[in-house]
Symmetry: C2
Subunit: 373 residues, 2 copies
């Protein structure tokens, strides 16, 4: 009896200690070791279960609690890259409170860990840097305040009569207009490829990718409403061609005409690139689609009515990429089969990886040297 | 005895339920009511104590747990503004996992809640918008990769021969170069003031504000190392005058000369504005300092050796602002007394509020109409 009272007292005592709200121990997280192992930590003295979910890892890693209430897990070794991750405490996905590096997103911002390697295309190198220009405008086509980013390459000078080709580069569902710059690090990828002589200097336009903002308000369930999903895609194309493209061509030194215009994107942005590009070959001669999602909303013939025997004559490049662990690999393979059945020529790669930015940064690095050549 | 065993069993049972890691209930947070009350929620079934700490509120508000493990607190009514906040669970400051709106910061990113009011200067209005340009460069003066943002006003055209005056606008300690745009919403403040005819169209340069990045690696303790703190301030001035200003004047259509240049900033950026401005009146005729911190590192005479009887002849404006609840109000009052003792003319305001962006957005709104008039 005494032992049990003692036990309960001890439990109540430790509970009251928690209620006092003492300062938690200082923790360092994430800690990247030189061999690529990464240690994650979270002070959560009363949590019953904490795991860390790292982008590209098959399963969340269980964390262990020490006597100070700090949970720890070491993962890896991870290849040099930038990984999103969440600390999941009693089922709730948390941003790591010890880490300011994040993957911004309109629906699910995560922490990020950067495992550096100077040789990777997305690292900041000692090369000339381009600039990123952020434009704000009210979209009359879409009925909301919208924005787009424009990358101009190093030595771009609006007063010089050098005109550049343009890539329209589209983000995925749930990203903001800053997806390709803030998460994809597209500007550094272009800086590096241009400095290495692998890519032609070009202007890159990164618009907000929604035609109906209701898809963001409703979140991932939007895609089960096919009417909304199709409206979102088609009204995006209307705003891109009717509003963004004319603003860019008025303000920047761009080469005009279809052979100087490319369109590429990831996931939802892949579908938008295919729909906008293949249905407007009078405007675009270069098309890239990474891990396209949303191309299965209707049958392909209804989705791409403009694809016909003239398509090959107009296309300079149709480039299709997908990770082999991506849930969208099947629809992408189906789409490639359909293109073959229509005798439409394309290039394609399948790479290791799932539906992640690790795949898309590499996709961009592989595609850009092919453009405008 | 049986009752105690039952009690312990019940406690162990509820513990094991937690270990199962069930999906937490869906929560909405923050929820802004039309009268300005804000409800914050956090699912944290095993936490012993959760509070919400809202910027500008004197004390954290205790949260109450319901039977689903969701903690709730309602705060307010709050005036229309953008407030940073943290959910503090068992002493650990968390970003609200239900909210994607944040106040980015290099040392302490917080969640943010926006209580809208179309009349406020920082809201997005149906007026012409300027653009924000993001520049990346390697600072040879400071020895690290640095960046700066440039706001160009609506209708700015690099090909037209209209030249604009320039404001160098400096963030505070722990902010990134995006402090004034991402948190301060300076671009929208300028859009609105220009559209209302209250401000002259101007170019605004927002540089990364550190001369020695060691101050960020060491965090807030840096300021106890006076040598480091002074080096950080003085090397910032060197990079601003030697690197950023020449790049801006080469690339943008700016009026040159001291009477077309202003410098203003908040907290550490206030000290940098005063040190750079008052010691380089050959370069700047307009100086603003909001809630300046770091001006007490030496005595004022050593800090501002260039202040002399000619200062009034050169100054078009010296404008000093501080919130009355700001811990730095005393040093700012001491500084103003010192200026009086030197017969240096200045304008000043003291406003309600503490060391927060709510004060600084209003300070910018008050200062900008005075510049270049």
């Amino acid at each position: 009896m005494r032992k049990i009272i003692l036990l309960v007292s001890a439990m109540l005592f430790s509970l009251s200690l928690g209620l006092l709200g003492q300062a938690p121990p200082h923790v360092v997280s994430p800690e990247v070791q030189s061999d690529g192992h990464v240690t994650f930590r979270l002070a959560a003295p009363n949590a019953a279960k904490v795991v860390v979910n790292v982008e590209g890892q098959r399963d969340p890693a269980p964390m262990q609690k020490d006597e100070n209430g700090v949970w720890t897990a070491t993962v890896g070794p991870l290849q040099p890259d930038i990984y999103g991750y969440s600390l999941i405490a009693d089922g709730v996905s948390l941003i790591d409170p010890s880490n300011q590096l994040m993957k911004p997103n309109l629906l699910f911002t995560q922490s990020a860990v950067h495992i550096p390697d100077p040789a990777r295309s997305w690292e900041v190198s000692d090369v000339p840097h381009g600039e990123i220009h952020h434009h704000f405008y009210h979209s009359k086509v879409n009925g909301f305040d919208s924005d787009f980013y424009v990358y101009t390459p190093p030595n771009y000078d609006p007063n010089k009569k050098t005109d550049y080709p343009v890539l329209y580069l589209l983000h995925g569902f749930s990203d903001g207009a800053d997806g390709w710059s803030a998460v994809g690090r597209a500007n550094f990828i272009f800086d590096n490829l241009i400095a290495q002589g692998k890519a032609k200097p070009m202007i890159v336009v990164m618009p907000l990718g929604y035609g109906d903002y209701e898809v963001i308000r409703r979140g991932w369930t939007s895609w089960s409403d096919k009417e909304l999903a199709l409206r979102n895609l088609s009204k995006f194309t209307d705003a891109l061609l009717g509003e963004v493209l004319p603003q860019v061509e008025a303000e920047y030194r761009v080469k005009k005409g279809r052979e100087s215009r490319a369109i590429a994107g990831l996931s939802m942005g892949g579908a938008e690139s295919l729909r906008t590009g293949l249905n407007h070959l009078d405007q675009f001669a270069w098309i890239g689609a990474f891990s396209s999602g949303g191309i299965d909303l209707r049958d392909f013939s209804a989705e791409f009515p403009a694809v016909d025997t003239d398509t090959n004559k107009k296309l300079k490049l149709l480039w299709i990429a997908c990770g082999t662990d991506d849930g969208l690999i099947k629809i992408n393979r189906d789409f490639k089969s359909w293109l073959k059945s229509k005798d439409v020529k394309f290039s394609d790669i399948e790479t290791p990886g799932a539906h992640t930015w690790m795949v898309w940064r590499r996709n961009l690095t592989a595609l850009v040297p092919l453009l405008f050549q």
